[in-house]
Symmetry: C3
Subunit: 173 residues, 3 copies
């Protein structure tokens, strides 16, 4: 039994949720691991991002989102509206604004001191519902999914473009 770990970096574009098909990166990590039989966990370390398993749908909209991603956005927005005013959500409250403003790296979270940069409550709630991790099968040295199955990392945070990390851990023999 061994464990093989890898961290990949992805770019989110802001304005709308960014969906990234990371299936090839996961398959590459499995190949590098040399593990034949085991499991592969895929993990988001960011609280506004999530990991999920979905079909690759070929048609894309003008933002480069596949049809099932547009549909998922539409479905989630029925109960989680875009965070575009101070009244949309209770989050972030006065104490949270002040806490973030006191951080040494506050500029990363509040560029130019603009408090609306914390209006990402929609992203936090969507990520909680989709979930931060998923476990996959590793079978005979391959990702054990059907021919239509792909792994997606999503950054629901629309406030700005960012570099995001995704962690892959493969355990087996």
């Amino acid at each position: 039994m061994i464990i093989y770990k890898k961290q990949i970096t992805v770019e989110s574009k802001g304005k709308t949720p960014t969906y990234i098909n990371i299936t090839d990166a996961v398959k590459e990590a499995i190949a590098e691991s040399g593990i034949s039989d085991g499991i592969c966990t895929v993990i988001s370390p960011h609280t506004t991002c999530a990991v999920f398993f979905e079909e690759y749908a070929h048609d894309e909209d003008e933002n480069g989102n596949e049809s099932l991603q547009v549909d998922l956005n539409n479905v989630l927005e029925k109960t989680i509206p875009d965070h575009d005013s101070a009244e949309t959500f209770v989050y972030p409250g006065e104490e949270h604004y002040q806490a973030v403003e006191s951080w040494p790296n506050a500029e990363n979270y509040l560029p130019g001191g603009d408090r609306t940069a914390l209006w990402n409550g929609d992203a936090h709630l969507k990520a909680t519902i989709i979930g931060s991790s998923e476990v996959f099968d590793v079978d005979n040295g391959k990702l054990g999914v059907g021919s239509t199955g792909y792994i997606y990392f999503v950054d629901f945070d629309r406030t700005r473009p960012r570099q995001r990390k995704c962690k892959i851990a493969i355990i087996g023999e």
Copy 2:
């Protein structure tokens, strides 16, 4: 530390989501593994299926669905309507239809060339929200859940009956 893996097969009936109580199969796999302390991951390799943990509720409706399953169907349908027209979802688009039609096994996905066989966007979205995997405790050689806890595999795809796979991986010592 060892890993023990098993794949089980279940039958879905189409028309409505099919819920299958797989608790006994998971317990059997744990017993076969000989693992005393560890974790057990249960994984759907299908993008319209999901795995979750729920109480066994005794009352069933005319489709054989337990009360909590009927309630879950009702709740999910509030934001994810049945995919019963070309307008319900953006998915599947023209490129996706054509891609599937070009597959060597196209007949499996589009029996008789009927494009409505791809009207399972509801199932894709529900499966994404419920999640494709769940991890359970293995404690003293047993599934580490309370007396009211059961493991369910659900096929949300209503388009047709199908044979589905579910993967179980137990890791421990």
Copy 3:
């Protein structure tokens, strides 16, 4: 490769969902494990509880719920209303009531024989949507999350205060 397991106990307060920040307990378990590189799974063995990854939001309401927790309650209640009448959900049906009444420990589930103690269908459905487990990264002996990431255990069951268990399993080397 070793596995280290720990069970923690938390108290839920009833009336509203109880959210508990268990990040320090998870970090303590990782330190105790001596594992440097691996994964950490956090598991609820209760079907009305869930585990998720979220930012710590500083502001609290009168029930001690952080702003993002109030927002999550509000979002989930849009499709899953409080179970406050026999008509809210199909669950629990007559057979389920009778089954629970026949259990040797029925008094634990139906204190004083009050059937409304089973009106926790809302909690079952919310827990299914959020999920019973999540996997985290263990990197260089630490919980591998960003500085704003925390782990929460939630008991959605509002029917009464209870002691709940949460299971932590760390695998690695």
